[in-house]
Amino acid sequence: MFGKLMIGGAALLLFAAEVRAETIEDKVQVCTGCHGENGKPVDKTIPTIWGQQAGYLYIQLRDFKRGDRKSEIMQPIATQFERDDMLAIAEYFSQKPWPDLGQPHAPKDVAAKAVAASASVGCPACHLDRFQGDGTVPRLAGMGRDYLAKTIADFRTRARGNNPGMSDLMLATSPDDLAALVEYLAGL
């Protein structure tokens, strides 16, 4: 895992100096090292970005650059990009098909628990029907289970600090309910 990330980082350094001259395909080459050649992330704690909402991808790149979202890997990558690059990269990945990670549907009792928890704090009001997301709100349906679990945990500790509203909602939801939500969302 770490080795792959290092390769990604090295690729970045090589291409960063010529970022303006490159095509979008060149620019996004660095991303495949972790997020996958075919849209399936190489590690389960890495998010799916193929088919993700463009507005969300842009905001994350922006926040990595600003340091509002912490990541030793992503921050130096995002720092190379200007706003137009970020928007172009976001648009590029949003147009790719969402990969099927082959995660099983949650059992009925788990799904029921997740839906009740979701209704209680109003997740669909932003993530929309069937958790497809829109604009700057991410799609969660079919996202990697380990990434979902890690992100929710990071929201609860505010280690993921670029969306305090999400932290508030996760803190208002019990760990038990959140575990059910992870299962449910991963299997959608």
Binding site: G51, I59, G122, C126, L128, R130, D134, L169, A172
Partner: protein, 569 residues
């Protein structure tokens, strides 16, 4: 047609089993605009002024500039409403929350959908005349669904405000874009879901964003050019106010005034990111040239620790001069709100009895608190408030980390749903929610346009939710009748001269009630949540009632994509 076929297939087999990519396409249309020809006469200002007497058209979002939602036609009445049947159903290309108020001009209907699409339809047949599919920018930040509540027509133009915070004028005949104006930066949390109000060559618009630390406003744009004419910040630079300790009904709000004053000394006036969105159309008093609207919650919703003061003009009725946008008067319902029990349902202008029983020009508003507030239009002062239309318990307990239970829940009472009135009966009709919730507080710094709730409001799963339709005499404040519904209600209501009120529910029921006693006289099952305000109109000598059935994002009611028109045999 591929998309519609997919939607039908999804409904048939159960959408939960389909792959995500297919569903995404069904919900988030990437449809192209289809230009067409709507043979419609230009709408004059005189027509708009007289909309309250016009049974042929439905020209303004809430029926007329006073926003009474009282339709003057009576072909459909208490005796024959049982014979109402479907005239046509139009399926839009977007299967998401429908909150549109259909506008009808000269036999042409204009409706909108989520993601800011507009359709022109033949109001007699439901045939599509044109479709404007807004090319949404990648950055949208909005609360409570990608909704759009409708358009307005003046001259030969249709005015639309979009989710990515743009104002557009479309050609009413063809759907072509005439001009576009950027209203505000969506990256900072600004979005548009309301219908514009067009009056005297001005397009009036507010903004959403009270959940994202915006500074709210109401603006007027030139209807011909899209150029901004005036701006009124709903949060003044001095937002501190009078340190009110009681709400409009006299209940103590448990503010720690000293702590707030200390914080004010440390951080200064918090006006710049204090929220104050405006969700719904202003009413327009043509006689005095004033507008009346309500301002929503402060940012962050539940955490008052970093926003000392009354947070003016959040949770307030505000009046401005139409020509200049200058402040006239305001009345704040809840100072320093930490429950998001704000003011969102549109104001209505009716004559009301003052405290001495004299009839005066009034303005009324239905609050999330569950009260209907009755004001003197001259100075915004409160004359009376109605009995509570929903259970109230433990008001105003302060939110805690663990969650404090209080009724009503944060959605109301009355949400954005417009009320209707029948001045002849001195009644206001409101649809209400009853959702027991706990209020949780968390503190965090301004997050650069991200969701900034300052905590959470949480439905208590073990407690029963419900809704109601309530008729209130606004001259006495007494409830005249109430019909209970199995689910919380959101959408809107229409009263008619036929002695009826029409409204819908999240379970798909759309019904007509006797407006004097609440007796149900007719109902229909739409198959998706009927959570939009109905309109009524005449074409070919027949009265129609039309409503959107698309469900609701905020309450997660079953989605659909139907505009349904009803008429008599």
């Amino acid at each position: 047609m591929y998309v519609k076929g997919l939607a039908a297939f999804a409904a048939a087999v159960g959408v939960g089993l389909l792959s995500g990519a297919a569903i995404a396409q069904e919900v988030k249309q990437e449809k192209q605009s289809v230009l067409g020809n709507a043979n419609v006469s230009p709408v004059t200002q005189e027509q708009l002024n007289a909309a309250d007497k016009n049974a042929k058209d439905f020209l303004l979002t809430n029926g007329n500039y006073a926003q009474t939602r009282f339709y003057p036609g009576k072909q459909i009445g208490r005796d024959n409403v049982k014979n109402l049947h479907v005239a046509w159903i139009f399926q839009t290309d977007v299967k998401e929350s429908l909150e549109t108020s259909p506008i009808v001009v000269d036999g042409v209907m204009y409706v909108t959908t989520s993601f800011s699409h507009v359709y022109a339809l033949d109001a007699k047949t439901g045939q599509q005349l044109w479709h404007y599919a807004h090319k949404m920018g990648p950055i949208t930040v909005y609360c409570c669904g990608p909704n759009n509540r409708g358009v307005q027509v003046l001259g030969d133009r249709v005015y639309l405000a979009t989710l990515d915070s743009k104002l557009l004028a479309l050609n009413a005949k063809t759907g072509e874009v005439v001009w576009t104006t950027n209203i505000a930066d969506p990256e900072l949390g600004y979005s548009e879901t309301m219908a514009p109000t067009v009056v005297k060559d001005k397009v009036l618009i507010g903004t959403n964003g009270g959940e994202y630390g915006i500074r709210g406003f109401v603006r007027a744009y030139d209807a011909k050019t899209g150029k901004q004419l005036w701006n009124f910040n709903t949060i003044p630079e001095n937002s501190v106010g009078v340190w009110a300790t009681k709400d409009a009904t006299g209940r103590d709000m448990h503010r720690n005034i000293q702590a707030e004053k200390d914080m004010l000394g440390k951080i200064g006036d918090p006006y710049a990111k204090l929220g104050g969105g405006v969700w719904q159309n202003p009413s327009v008093d043509l006689a005095t040239n004033r507008i009346y609207f309500v301002v929503g919650n402060p940012s962050p919703d539940l955490d008052g620790s970093n926003r000392p003061g009354d947070n003016l003009y959040t949770n307030s009725l505000v009046s401005l001069d139409l020509d200049t946008g200058k402040y006239v008067c305001h009345f704040q319902y809840i100072a320093h709100d930490v429950w998001d029990l704000d003011a969102v349902s549109p104001t209505v202008l009716v004559d009301v009895k003052d405290k001495g029983g004299k009839s005066i020009p009034g303005v009324i508003h239905a609050g999330k608190t569950g009260h209907i507030y009755v004001h003197d239009r001259k100075d915004c002062s409160l004359i009376r408030f109605s009995e509570a239309m929903v259970p109230q318990e433990n008001m105003w307990v302060l939110p805690t980390k663990e969650g404090a239970r209080m009724l009503p829940g944060a959605n109301g009472g009355v949400e954005w749903s417009p009320i209707a009135t029948d001045p002849g009966q001195e009644l206001a009709y409101a649809i209400n929610l009853h959702q027991p919730m706990t209020y949780h507080v968390e503190s965090s710094a301004y997050p650069n346009g991200k969701l900034w709730l300052g905590g959470a409001f949480k439905v208590i799963p073990s407690e029963k939710q419900s809704g109601n339709i309530t008729a209130v005499n606004y001259n006495t404040g007494k409830i005249k009748w109430q019909v209970n519904t199995p689910e919380p209600m959101i959408g809107g209501i229409l009263a008619t001269a036929g002695g009826l009120v029409f409204t819908g529910e999240g379970n798909g029921k759309f019904a007509a009630y006797n407006s004097s006693n609440g007796k149900e006289l007719w109902s229909f099952r739409a198959g998706a949540g009927v959570n939009a305000p109905p309109s009524s109109y005449m074409v070919g000598g027949k009265q129609y009632v039309v409503v959107g059935a698309g469900g609701n994002t905020q309450l997660d009611y079953k989605r659909g994509n139907n505009i349904i028109a009803f008429t008599l045999d």
